[in-house]
Amino acid sequence: MRKTWKKLLALGLAATMVAGMTACGGKKAAELDKLTILVDNTVVNTLNGQAQFEAGLEELMGIDIEIIQPDHSGYYDTVGQTFANPDTTQWPDIVLLGSTYYATYASQGLLADLTEIWEKSDLKASGVIADEKTITDYAIDGKIYGIAPARGNGCMTYVKQSWLDKAGITKVPTTYAEYTAMLDAFVALSPDGYAITSPGLVNNEAPYVNYLPEFFQSAYPDFYQKEDGTWVDGFSEQAMKDALGRLIDAYNNGWIDKEFATNKTSTCRDKFYADKCGVFTYWAGTWAATLSDKLIAAGLDSELVAMKPIDEVGQYIERYSPVWAITSACENPEQAFDLFFGTMLDGSKGQVLWTFGAEDVHWSKKAEDVVVGSGDSTKTYTYGEGEFHFKANLETGDSQYKKNHIDPVLSIAKFKDGEDVSNAQMDPRASAAADIFFSNCTIAPKIVSNDTMSKYQSAIMSLRIELVSQVAAGTISIEDAYARYNDEQGANIQAILDSLNNK
């Protein structure tokens, strides 16, 4: 009798375990009742009708949305603090990440693997994605951790036609010699004695050298993989030393704004609008129209020549676009993917929201007058019934909106028939600039990350930025800069190269 009991008990336990395991295996991920999104100010902010945009998304997704939008300049501070928090319930479900951050966080296992989800998704099957390569290009070690809804874009050089006319230059420069000759002529025309302004010489974010391509040419101040597969330190190469020589010339000849070290991007734009300089290297596409509009608002000649890259540059650099990623803390990545990306890139209403914003808040098709500016610079634009147009900026009122998050010129998803509210009527200035850029660009070297890079990369990059600035300003010589570079970071650079090449 006792044996029978024992047998029954053993059977019962085994059955319970099997049932338990079955239950575990078949357990479905919890349904999401809310989606939290951490984003910078590339999405309309609260003063610019974010509530209406959010309401539109909630209606389409059928789920509560919470948009967390920290101050733009402190965005990555917030992202870093978020991912450092062991309490993952405080993490957002979706986060927007620049390429460097994306590579780092993916390598640390903080982002959900979307490879399989993407392969099996309705989004892929829908055929709306016209440029699947942009998605697969962002794979890290063959795995997709984030989706970029648009191509990365990049910077191209804009020259004011009025300055060319004043300098008597009829041919847009195509070589470095012609370019510097133009800068020389512009220095004489500038009220402050410089031809081109720039926020620093090397940026913190890849591709680092996009604001002064004519001086950097083929130099790349970071690790990159050569065609033969070996990784090298671009900053140590001769091309970089040559670029430093050109930057010294640029500084000494007054071609570049000597206040580059204290300039912010907004300062540079303001200097360009205030006609302090005739050349500015800035984002292609929509920004071409914005720069031109701001010149109109300042009462200046607005015609800008979007330059093709000079021969020595060859091609502009297209950056890796910021990607949207689902964090490892998300309870149901599959559902989050379908809801978020399925709406953002649906080729229909969701894509309209992310591209143009909310109807009658950011854009409209109603007959109306849109008034922008104030005082003497007030301008009124009249639109007929059914004519797509952007509304005036709710926060500043000084211009019309140009887009919401996705630049329509760069979007990887095409609208379904009859769903594009703008009828592809893009500003011709933006389209023209984008055409020139994308016909003459190459994608930036791929960003990778591993433990060794995580440990040393930021210190190395900070030193590179410091040295380039100091060399250009004449504080130290090129030789001394490289001596310090090798002395301070030589061992760490070698450690990184070893980690990449012996992978």
Binding site: G80, F83, Y101, T475
Partner: protein, 336 residues
């Protein structure tokens, strides 16, 4: 005989008075109260209730975060990557040249700034004290206090504009107009390693000296007018009165201010953070900005940042102990 370096009546009397008071204090050590603790707690219950929010604030924002100090022994790159590394962070720390550079810069910038600000505050206080027209004095005081209320971000923006090498730069334009510099020789005040520190000290003097005068003016207003009257009757002129009455009366306050501020010199951050740039990092990077730079990057190691922060705190703590010791020696009582 007034002005003779041997006779210093007020100093002598003051010292005597202080010594007597001190002796009395030492002799009479009265207990706070003879009542039991529970009775005292009940008697002063409302004071304790009022203190509760402060206590809560201190615990939440000052003591609980101290638990994070343990991460200095970890490699902490993200919530999923926390590994014990023992003293590796400290070994790494001392081997990094930027760390030592930041440490030396912190000491240099802070100490020179402190001495200059205090010196200027004393000078301005003395000048204000000599002002006869009360309205002019008040207006001057208000004007020199104002910069203190301006945020460092705004201050940096304003000075970047004023010190620009271009047409908007007021200082360079003035120097050119006065013939001190030629066109093309404009001084890069904020973007040259030779000029940055000088500019930094100057901006700090402009911003904080006015506020710093408050404590010195308070001391000056506490000096008995009888002393000045007596000195005047004895034939002392303005300079004599300042030298023999005002300066000695201020001496203790100056030392107190210096000692109190010396304990805070490791806290230098905001003013440097907003005024620094890539060209001048070598002369401007301080420990706090270094910590910020290594923490808010694409690949931070919070463990390493904590180690830097801990080192900074230890130096700050050491300074407090030294200052406390110095304070006891100079003032007869400590600062903590």
């Amino acid at each position: 005989m007034w002005g003779c370096s041997v006779w210093q009546p007020h100093d002598y009397l003051l010292q005597k008075g202080c010594d007597l008071m001190e002796k009395k204090m030492k002799k009479k050590k009265t207990p706070v109260s003879n009542k039991p603790l529970s009775v005292r707690l009940y008697t002063y219950r409302w004071f304790y209730v009022m203190f509760l929010p402060v206590l809560a604030f201190l615990i939440v924002f000052h003591y609980l975060p101290l638990a994070g100090i343990r991460y200095m022994f970890y490699s902490y790159t993200s919530a999923f990557n926390i590994k014990w590394v023992g003293l590796d962070n400290f070994i790494d720390l001392v081997s990094r040249p930027p760390f030592w550079n930041s440490f030396i810069n912190t000491l240099e910038l802070s100490i020179i700034k402190l001495l200059l600000n205090t010196f200027m505050a004393v000078i301005i206080s003395l000048l204000l004290n000599e002002m006869v027209n009360i309205y002019f004095k008040k207006i001057t005081q208000t004007i020199i206090y104002l910069p203190h209320f301006m945020s460092w971000v705004v201050t940096a923006s304003v000075f970047t504009l004023i010190l620009s090498t271009y047409s908007s730069g007021l200082v360079n334009t003035m120097l050119k107009t006065m013939g001190i510099i030629e066109a093309g020789e404009e001084i890069s005040f904020l973007t040259s390693t030779e000029w940055w520190r000088f500019t930094y000290y100057l901006i700090n003097i402009w911003k904080d000296t006015g506020w710093g005068t408050i404590v010195f003016l308070a001391t000056l207003s506490g000096i008995s007018p009888d002393l000045y009257e007596a000195a005047q009757i004895d034939g002392a002129n303005r300079w004599d009165r300042m030298r023999w009455i005002t300066f000695p009366s201020l001496a203790n306050t100056i030392i107190t201010v210096l000692i109190l501020n010396l304990a805070k010199i490791m806290n230098l951050f905001e003013s440097v953070f907003v005024l620094t740039n890539d060209i001048v990092t070598e002369v401007s990077q301080v420990l706090q900005t270094y910590t910020y730079d290594i923490t808010f990057t694409s690949a931070p190691d919070y463990g390493f940042s904590t180690a830097v922060g801990f080192f900074r705190s230890m130096v700050g703590c050491l300074l407090v102990i030294i200052c406390n010791f110095a304070s006891k020696k100079v003032r007869g009582r400590g600062i903590v």
